[in-house]
Amino acid sequence: MSAVNRDGWTARRGLETRERRTLGALALLLVVAVGLSLSVGSTFVDPARVIGALIGTEDGGIRLLVVEWRLPRALAAVAFGAALGLSGLVFQTITRNELGSPDVIGLTTGAYTGALVVITSGSGSGTAVTVGALVGGFATAAVVAALVAGRGDLGYRIVIIGIGVSAVLASVNAWMLLRARLEVAISASIWGSGSLNGVGWSQLRTPLLVIGVLGLLLLCARRGIWALQLGDDLARGLGTRVTATKVGLLALAVGLTAVVTAAAGPIAFVALAAPHLAAALVRPGPVHLAATALLGAALLTVADVVGQHAIPGRAIPVGLVTLVLGGAYLIWFVLRSARRLT
């Protein structure tokens, strides 16, 4: 039955029925979440009219509300959530560490630092902020990699190192925000908590394009991920150029995190949780990648709906929702695996 297919992955050809069902269920979950975010709000739009607005049979106010105001935000949550989930999966694979995700080891904070440098120096263009976030993310990745290098298998210590780096960067971020004028500080601290407020079509074009390109590249490099999930030795045995693959994948993953951070601010713990939850549902390999993307998208969409509507009249930035819920998840995860950590 089993055969090594041309992806170098020992598996039955195609998806098992159970996995097809799982992916279908996740996709359905995502559709429901998106539907919620399109219909719930200060004006409730019932699902039939939402569909009408999307296919163009509704017009006027409903169309404006659904297509121009709510759809970009929902789309941003889907794309950003998927990007964060995939980025987390790549990081956790490369560090061979379930906690080695970009938000835990300080990359998200570093990308935000880069973005803040650009913003507080007065250059407000979206592209400049994205470039700043990319530079910040790569620089942080390089620093963490240098601090980890040569220490053998650090296990969970990479997380301690990352928390230290992250704390230093967070102090720099707080300092930059305090220097800013109050109006700038209030808006920056909403954005600084990770928010999809004010995301419209025009702000969305660049991030969506970049995420699309990076996602496609990741899809092309998927065999590398699967091979690395088997361990370096086995991957090498399968003919993977391990170091080159890792560097390439890392670049893609840092890019994904940085783009999201530039567009929405630092959003924590989606990158941590989505790959974990996906791993609980499906086996490693191709399905894991798809399930992670779907779960990341669904998580961020639901978190944004919660943030917008949990307290009537007061929107909470989605990053705070993921921080609180994801932090609680992290406590549970760490305590559950207490015996395995060293």
Binding site: L147, R157, V159, I163, W175, L178, I186, S189, I331, L335
Partner: protein
């Protein structure tokens, strides 16, 4: 021998503290000579320099001393309680618990009276400390587990605090500088409320150190030696709460001080709590006062809050711990 080492360390730390106070009183956006400082205290006149001394330098230095003493001692106690050299009320979420409770008091109750904030901070701190102790017992003495769970707890509480503050824009203004841990613009009158609480915390801490040292031999041995284990733990928890909670109410959340200072102190006098707690208290005071001075001058005329300076300077210690081959054992 240990006695002499402790005495030498005590003298050195006291000298450092005196130097720190001198810096704290004289250095700032403008340098005020020591004679002028004395003059301002003894013969206060309504000049600009004298006002700087009496209204800014003295309150900041005094509050810095109190906050530093409290957090230094709280860090050492916390490390003794959890048997973990990475423990710190800031890293493990105790200060975040106090902050969250303060944010509730400001945003929901609508009070910014200091006694109210302090009571809130104490309630938040004791709940968070209990959570840390609970986490510590579930994590079966694994140092990294405790730190990770503590960081996650701090993240949850920090996120909830920010959400509360954003929901109430009026609270945003009140919490803005407080949130990063600052001594600027604090009233010396705070000490009449905060001082006794911290003094009580220190007394309790000192009273607990001997039993805490015995506890380090293991619960069974401690019981055999006549130590009431539960009472000792409870006493330490109360002391940590009084110290970290009050310090947070005064200055906002200041992290990493309780990590770094006991680490340095341990290098000087070893890990016996009887020497470690007092020395950490003195060194903590010196460090906070100096960190406040650094924050005043580094981008003068603007200021960097002391909490940010501390994180910037002391968080790399966490990186160093992560890189070291063996985690320090207590």
């Amino acid at each position: 021998m240990t006695g002499r080492r402790a005495a030498v360390a005590g003298v050195v730390a006291t000298a450092a503290l005196a130097g720190a106070v001198l810096l704290g009183l004289t250095i700032g956006s403008q340098v005020v000579g020591l004679p002028t400082v004395l003059d301002a205290v003894l013969h206060p006149q309504d000049t600009q320099l004298h006002r700087v001394v009496t209204e800014s330098r003295i309150p900041r230095t005094a509050l810095g001393l109190v906050v530093g003493t409290a957090l230094g001692a709280a860090g050492a106690l916390m490390q003794g309680l959890t048997r973990n050299a990475l423990a710190d009320p800031g890293i493990l979420g105790v200060n975040a618990g106090a902050s969250f409770a303060v944010a509730i008091a400001v945003a929901v109750v609508g009070s910014s009276q200091f006694p109210v904030l302090m009571v809130a901070a104490l309630i938040g701190a004791v709940l968070a400390t209990l959570a840390v102790v609970l986490i510590g017992s579930v994590s079966r003495g694994n140092p990294i587990t405790l730190v990770l769970a503590g960081v996650a707890l701090a993240a949850v509480l920090g996120g909830a605090t920010t959400a509360l503050v954003l929901i109430r824009p009026t609270a945003f203004l009140a919490m803005r500088s407080w949130e990063s841990g600052s001594l600027a613009g604090r009233d010396l009158d705070l000490l009449t409320t905060a001082g006794p609480a911290i003094a009580a915390g220190l007394l309790l801490a000192v009273a607990m150190t001997r039993n805490l040292d015995t506890l380090a031999l293991g619960d069974d041995a401690a019981v055999a030696l006549g130590v009431d284990v539960r009472r000792t733990r409870a006493g330490v928890i109360v002391a940590v709460t009084l110290l970290a909670g009050t310090a947070t109410a005064v200055a906002g959340p200041v992290a990493f001080l309780g990590l770094a200072v006991p680490h340095v102190a341990r290098g000087l006098v070893g890990s016996a709590m009887t020497a470690l707690v007092p020395l950490s208290a003195v060194l903590g005071a010196a460090v906070v006062v100096v960190a406040d001075v650094v924050g005043r001058v580094v981008i003068s005329p603007q200021e960097v809050p002391v909490g940010i300076v501390m994180a910037f300077v002391a968080a790399p210690l966490l990186v160093w711990f992560g890189r070291s081959a063996k985690l320090p054992q207590l």
